[in-house]
Symmetry: C2
Subunit: 147 residues, 2 copies
DNA sequence: TAATTTTAATCAGTTATACTGACTATATAT
DNA sequence: ATATATAGTCAGTATAACTGATTAAAATTA
């Protein structure tokens, strides 16, 4: 198939790379019964332990009602626990369990495997450049969101 | 907010860049009454005129029943026309109309504007590298799909 | 201190989107 | 001539996130 306008656009190429990365990752996550979003929630909770549902949602841009379902789900799998925050009894302190940490560790290795598969055609130097470019773009996006 | 594991992952950064690109593009497309997917269909039809719904769907990975809705929608806006293919009366030849071409042209300029906005923090050289890296990744993905 | 407003989480119901599977009409293969 | 495969359609389903109302608790204000 000839090169299309679409295939010369950053937007299209980004979307394709993202889809490929995500679909491969989701497939690897399947046995852990997690999707990419839920993996993200777990990872956030490990790095920012005892966050509230609101804090997780704000950081990962997940709607409050959607957060309820995610935490319900993760709690059912015993990957996290809700504990009432004694300092603010409206909110929960959400903690990742031992089991959750184990799954998360596996998930991280799956993510790294996926990334290396999808980026296998790039040289080490290109991979570095790619990361640094993506970080620059991310910084722009972050700046835009502050306003 | 400190850098998270997530923010060091290609998958996460790709997803964020893609989301930002897409949401800004969708917003710009709003007055044309198109979303990114429908824009893609129009662009494909301009480059591969007289494709069938199946051919568009195969190229852009859109399900056959979803293609029906997209073409219904585009036809209602008079951006495309369905004409029975006399050589195979099961299928349609889908053609982009004059009006569709005008909207498409506008859409392309919006896409280029969006891309330049999102990638504004990159130098010209970095933008080139980014494109060439994304094309390499795309080639890998394509190869994987052939099998 | 009492009354008011704001906030975190929840829940029922809605919306958007794409999908499954059955069906029609036509074409291809046996 | 019969059987099988294909393009497109449609009704109904699944999924996922969202809207708006509600509860309980906290913060603000009077």
């Amino acid at each position: 198939m000839l090169i299309l306008f679409l295939q010369k656009s950053y937007g299209f190429l980004l979307a394709k790379a993202k889809e490929e990365m995500e679909s491969r990752f989701i497939e690897k996550l399947l046995p852990l019964r997690l999707d990419a979003r839920q993996f993200g929630v777990l990872q956030f909770l490990e790095e920012y332990p005892n966050s509230s549902q609101k804090q997780v949602g704000d950081a990962l841009q997940i709607d409050r009602t959607t957060m309820v379902s995610h935490i319900d789900f993760l709690e059912e799998l015993q990957y996290v626990k809700r504990i009432r925050n004694p300092k603010d009894r409206r909110s929960f302190v959400v903690t990742i369990t031992k089991r959750g940490q184990e799954k998360l560790k596996l998930g991280r290795s799956y993510l790294e495997d996926t990334e290396m598969d999808v980026l296998s055609s790039l040289t080490g130097k290109e991979q570095e450049e790619f990361k640094s470019i993506l970080l620059k773009v991310w910084a722009t996006i972050q700046k835009g969101e502050e306003e």
